[in-house]
Symmetry: C2
Subunit: 147 residues, 2 copies
């Protein structure tokens, strides 16, 4: 059997920038300066619902969600994380993790569909990506070599 | 150590009705006839974020999400499931699973915060709960005694 290659959905590609590649998911940052907002995209072709992933890969997805959530919180302290897998517009399986603050533009409603993104300006996007990459790296599971 | 007893948040209690009790979560139906919409509430006191649950209970949560998702789809065929853990208003950890149809009132936006619920009328709530309970029971993990 030949597996179809994974190709990132063009809408996700245009709304977000790549931050890091974990074993299962690419971690991408939503280009919206109003929210610290990450998107995990399992690098598997043809997935739409979480349950489309084999059980073993679902387990990896949840480990990676924990790791990404901790990294996001360390970079962007927040009052509440919002996690969601919607996919009404972009069907390719992807998981949002958003650091919400009381009083942010969409608070207390969801960010999805609230209002058009406001892209980062200047070096702010690169700075945030670097901070996230560093936090993700600090949170990587230890191997024997690390000890 | 004495564990605090779990008490369901009063807002969740008033918005939803109990359908079933799984090993970790109570499964509740949102009383909004416009959507087939379930809420999983881990029966653990003091939990706010998914990562507050111990790893072993997170694993149970995801198993129960799969089981509930399958039951929901069998009762309410849909175009897309929407799963979300928000908690901006009700902080007690809970996970939404909503069967979305193209053209439903909030489509393609999220259901959260869209508009006030429209309660089920007559026997419709009981009928839906019974169908969900039956579907959840068909999807329960097999034990040796079941074979």
């Amino acid at each position: 059997m030949t597996l179809a290659p994974f190709v990132l959905d063009p809408q996700l590609a245009s709304d977000t920038v790549a931050v890091s590649q974990l074993p299962l998911c690419e971690v991408r940052l939503m280009n919206d300066k109003r929210y610290a907002w990450l998107v995990l995209v399992p690098q598997r072709a043809g997935m739409v619902e979480i349950s489309d992933l084999p059980d073993a890969e679902q387990a990896v997805l949840w480990q990676e969600l924990n790791r990404v959530s901790a990294a996001l919180r360390s970079v962007a302290p927040c009052d509440k994380l919002n996690c969601g897998a919607l996919g009404n517009i972009v069907r390719q399986l992807h998981l949002h993790v958003v650091a919400r603050r009381e009083g942010d533009p969409a608070w207390p409603g969801p960010v999805w569909g609230h209002s058009p993104a406001q892209p980062y300006a200047g070096h702010a996007l690169a700075t945030r990506c670097a901070a996230l990459l560093d936090a993700l790296d600090r949170g990587r599971p230890q191997t024997v070599d690390d000890r």
